[in-house]
Symmetry: C3
């Protein structure tokens, strides 16, 4: 069985954001067992799984990635779309554009501390589209 | 068809560890063709695929990641769980928390040199839980 | 339903290469909805999704990763296969070895600007094998 839906996220500001509930609340009834593929259709944002409790984790993520790939990087040649654009592309491929999460007993089978992060790497990224595919 | 099992790994010390056999030996009979999703339910450990032969590859991985995100990073604000904790979160999202491996002719269809690594980023990570989901 | 095929890519030179068409043109008829898993069977090359338009994005990726993990890294101990080998392993695990792309209306459901990149990290990587698995 395959079920699919598209989720349009509202604009988030640049940074790492916990969106587990925003995804889960829009899902159809899940199968007893399966896999949920969560795929973001962009090249300057990403999704990952990390700690769902202390928000300072997400702040430290933003600081780390801004230091690793600064907007001020002088030798990037792809710079017509703003100095946050090429860093956003690199960050997106380091983090990745999709998750494949097990479904067990009709729910996402995440660890106690695991949450889903939207990683918004542009200053003004706007709406972001996510395709969710449930396989069972 | 969906089959699912949970594997509890024994504690590994901090570093990169080859766990292909530990996963494969616990699997049920695999289908002729399909996908195996291997998902680690933690935010300070990760799984990846890399060279299965020379153990110096795994040592160099540990050195590289410790230099990229040192425990001594002074500007991390999430530091109440120890100075190895926030670096572990960042490393976990750079490497990733799951694999989706093709199954062909009833076996994992890995390349000759590919093995599955557990990446243990905490000094004392303890047991780690992995959910394996077989889709066919 | 599971369908599977193996694609052998011709040798690409070191760098980031757009291979969307090379993958798509070899696919069988796709199902209405499903997931395509694209898995590269190597440990010194990777695949990711990023911008499919301006080729300077791909040049900047190559420069960034060469600066992050230089061939001249003196403290790598795994160096018998050449000074591009251990950097290639690290880059491969940072980027990742597989994609799981949604299929919608018989086609890959990629965003407007998304393309599939082969990331060739060796100076002379030779042919690269990819297994594509279609789940529906």
């Amino acid at each position: 069985m395959v079920e699919q839906l598209e989720i349009v996220l509202p604009p988030y500001k640049r940074g790492f954001h916990l969106i587990t509930d925003e995804i889960v609340n829009r899902l159809p009834n899940l199968p007893k067992e399966g896999i949920a593929n969560i795929f973001i259709k962009h090249t300057s944002a990403a999704i990952t799984i990390n700690e769902n409790a202390d928000s300072t984790v997400r702040t430290d993520f933003e600081t780390f990635f801004n230091r690793l790939i600064p907007d001020s990087t002088s030798w990037f040649t792809h710079n017509t779309e703003g100095n946050d654009d090429m860093p956003a592309h690199v960050k997106a491929s380091i983090i990745g554009q999709f998750l494949s999460i097990p479904i067990t007993n009709y729910k996402f089978n995440l660890g106690t501390w695991q949450g889903i992060y939207l990683c918004e790497f542009r200053n003004y990224g706007g709406n972001r589209r996510i395709t969710v595919t449930i396989l069972s």
